[in-house]
């Protein structure tokens, strides 16, 4: 078994690099501007004029910025490599079909398919701490499979399959369609229920094979 891809943790680690740098830059610029407004406020009728200096300072400054860019990109690329890696031998596979306006989750190994109905969205049942491989497609327009809890989304295109691995540490969440897809885009949600691996196996074994089951919410 390969190492788990924890998209939530990868996101948080990278976020904690970007956010403090952004806040620091904002603080410096806000501070400098406020300082100049006080320090250099107009007191008399002087015209300082100003002259153009050699652009040495700007050059050095640009180099510093370039250094920051390289650092951020290095962090980003490393994280991205881990996040988009697809396992050749996933523990659990789920085929996801998005359509106007709902989701269909199929566990191909067990031939179990879950859908929603007019009143309730479907439930995506997944095992905890396991690599789950999703194969995503759309039946009509472009949708986007987003589970905010795991900080990841991927677009679903018609006539095209895309594959990605996720793992789940938390028990519950809500999945959403992130790509605007028409009238009921806002209601195109699904529930996410993550349970221990053996519970998950039990749940999957007791579901009806073939056809579709509504909601799929575990009892």
């Amino acid at each position: 078994m390969e190492a788990l891809v924890d998209t939530r943790e990868e996101f948080q680690d990278l976020w904690q690099v970007y956010l403090p740098i952004g806040v620091a830059v904002a603080a410096i610029v806000f501070g400098l501007v406020l300082f100049t407004l006080v320090r250099y406020r107009r007191r008399g009728d002087e015209v300082p004029g100003g002259r153009e200096g050699p652009p040495i300072v700007e050059g050095l400054y640009a180099l510093v910025l370039a250094g920051v860019v390289v650092f951020l990109l290095a962090m980003t690329f490393r994280t991205d490599d881990r996040v988009i890696e697809v396992s050749a031998d996933p523990d659990v596979e789920v085929d996801v079909t998005a359509f106007q306006w709902g989701w269909r989750f199929t566990y191909p190994d067990e031939d179990v398919t879950v859908v929603g109905d007019d009143r309730r969205p479907p439930t995506l049942v997944v095992p905890l701490d396991t690599t789950v491989q999703f194969t995503l497609t759309s039946r009509d327009v472009i949708h986007s499979f987003w589970i905010p809890e795991v900080r990841f989304k991927r677009d679903a295109f018609p006539n095209r399959e895309t594959r990605f691995d996720l793992s789940f540490e938390e028990a519950d969440g809500t999945g959403r369609c992130a790509e605007f897809c028409g009238l009921a885009h806002g209601e195109m949600t699904f529930d996410v229920v993550a349970m221990a691996r053996d519970e998950f196996d039990d749940w999957l074994r007791t579901q009806r094979r073939g056809g579709e089951i509504q909601h799929g919410e575990p009892s």
Partner: protein, 548 residues
């Protein structure tokens, strides 16, 4: 060096009355009309936003249905991008650039005029879609295929929206082409490229991006129209992503088209109100050119979640923009340092642009990182990000331009105290509206939804945001009142109320038909400052030294 009024025209005498109003070839009149039309669309697009914000104040659908809501955000986005910010940027350029380069008129004024009417016609075409059975365009301002195709969104309304965008695209390209020719060909003899004021340089970069990118939009939309009429252009499996490439190849330069002119305004305003030559002029020009080049190679950062583009490449080019943007920020701060700063309304709005755009820019660095974008994309985080750039940024600089140049356009002053009231209302309103959206997006609220559930926990932040939007509306009302006051109780402005640095302040307010009776010597990018310093050199020694 004199440019004689009237020598540039030959032929028929100017028409009077209504025809003069419709068919004027005076770049100043065309520009003002473009600006007034853009401002009118801004008010309508703003009303759409208020309706949407009201709907989102509470869970459940209270005010409009989902279908109407989808039309509202589609038309809000299309209005603000196609009919407000881009035309406003070009209108400011069309008025000010010929003056700043010392030209008697714009190049090919009839083409400019045609461009203006095409933009207006495109806008009216887009809006006429409201009158059709299926309602207005409702596939988002991005109109992604297949949603924008005939089977997912049938109806004449969507067709009219597409036709409208094509007309606007052609119109904007024509206006930009004229400005490009003006800067390249019609500069006064002493006006070398490195004596162009910063605003004119930013307009040059802008119109270059317009002529390179907007035709691609027009083509993409023409193909979409053909597809909707049955031609199966985008129907293949690669069609939807091809549409996105065409759209964003326009759409990302478009973002900088709506940024550069406003950066230029800010540079001019900051230098004027700091009574200081713009510092770091040459590095800024280099940064602008680099930025323009890079802007044409970042488009697919809108497509990180499609799994169909080279994410790392587009992340690299997008993040590299930091170096260019940082150089621009450096130059403006360097201009402030050592200045003699007066906080009048134009300066406040310019600084509002400068600081609030920074929040938009920094959050832009975050969404330029694919792993972060996998979460932020298409959420309210992105909505917050681009409203900080376009509204808290560019539109604030648009108001800076209005307060700064209104005296030049009309010979009248806007009230400074009322302007400060507007500024305060808008700063509070803007941040109250858009900052909570960062948190909403991070917490998982997708964009383009009319509703959310009470248990989502989005209610409080949405209420704050709605409250803020009405403060913005009050601020805009203060501006309208200021305009009315300016005409009802006029305060004459004189030719140069701010001690400006560039040539537009060396002529009367408003300028005569062919702009200048005579031109002062053009000695640098701040010729009027040079003249002022010659008359009264700065003290050699003093409490405050001249910066660098």
């Amino acid at each position: 060096m004199g440019v004689e009024a009237g020598t540039a025209v030959a032929g028929r005498a100017p028409a009077g009355g209504l025809l003069a109003w419709i068919a004027t070839t005076d770049h100043k009149r065309i520009a003002l009309r473009m600006a007034v039309v853009a401002f009118g669309f801004f008010l309508i697009g703003g009303i759409f936003a208020l309706v949407m914000r009201s709907e989102l104040a509470d869970p459940g659908l209270q005010l409009v249905g989902r279908d109407t809501y989808n039309q509202l955000f589609t038309m809000h986005g299309s209005t603000m991008v196609f009919l407000v910010l881009t035309p406003l940027a070009l209108a400011l350029g069309t008025y000010i650039v010929p003056l700043q380069v010392g030209a008697a008129d714009i190049a090919a004024p009839r083409v400019t005029l045609a461009g203006h009417w095409l933009v207006l016609a495109g806008g009216l075409t887009m809006y006429s879609s409201f009158l059709t059975d299926h309602g207005a365009g409702k596939a988002g301002w991005t109109a992604y295929y297949p949603l924008s195709g005939n089977s997912a969104t049938p109806g004449t309304g969507m067709d009219l929206w597409v036709v409208g965008v094509i007309l606007v695209g052609v119109g904007l390209t024509l206006v930009a082409g004229c400005l490009l020719a003006t800067i390249v060909r019609l500069r006064a003899p002493q006006m070398t490229m490195l004596r162009l004021p910063v605003f004119s340089w930013t307009m040059l970069a802008t119109v270059l991006m317009v002529v390179m990118s907007v035709p691609v939009l027009a083509v993409g939309m023409a193909l979409l129209l053909a597809d909707r009429l049955g031609a199966s252009v985008y129907e293949s499996s690669g069609g939807p992503i091809a549409y996105q490439h065409l759209f964003w190849f326009f759409g990302h330069p478009a973002v900088y088209i709506m940024f550069f002119p406003f950066l230029g305004i800010t540079a001019d305003v900051v230098a004027t109100f700091a009574r200081k030559r713009f510092t770091g002029y040459r590095p800024l020009i280099v940064a602008l050119i680099a930025f323009t080049g890079l802007s044409m190679s970042v488009w697919a950062h809108h497509m990180f979640t499609t799994d169909q583009v080279a994410n790392k490449y587009f992340s690299l080019t997008s993040t590299a923009l930091v170096v260019a943007a940082g150089t621009e920020y450096f130059a403006i701060i360097a201009t402030l340092i050592g200045g003699s700063i007066l906080l009048r309304t134009p300066m406040l709005f310019a600084l509002g642009f400068f600081l609030q755009f920074l929040i938009g820019g920094l959050s832009g660095v975050i969404v330029a990182s694919p792993p972060l974008d996998y979460h932020a994309h298409d959420s309210y985080f992105v909505v917050a990000h681009f409203h900080y750039t376009l509204f808290a940024g560019s539109l604030f600089a648009g108001f800076a331009a209005a307060y700064y140049w209104f005296p030049k356009w009309t010979g009248l002053m806007l009230r400074d105290s009322l302007g400060k009231v507007q500024f305060a209302l808008m700063v509070v309103g803007t941040n109250l509206t858009f900052f909570p959206m960062f948190l909403l997006g991070y917490d998982g609220m997708p964009r383009r939804v009319a509703d959310y559930a009470p248990e989502d926990g989005f209610t409080d932040l949405n209420r704050l945001s709605t409250l803020g939007s009405f403060l913005i509306a009050l601020g805009v009302a203060a501006f309208l009142w200021n305009l009315i006051l300016a005409y009802r109780r006029p305060v004459p402005a004189g030719d140069d109320p701010w001690e400006g640095h560039s040539l537009e302040w060396a002529t009367s307010s408003p300028p005569p038909r062919y702009n200048f009776r005579s031109l002062p010597p053009i000695t640098s990018h701040a010729p009027l400052l040079d003249r002022r310093l010659e008359a009264k050199p700065p003290p050699k020694r003093g409490r405050r030294r001249v910066a660098r």
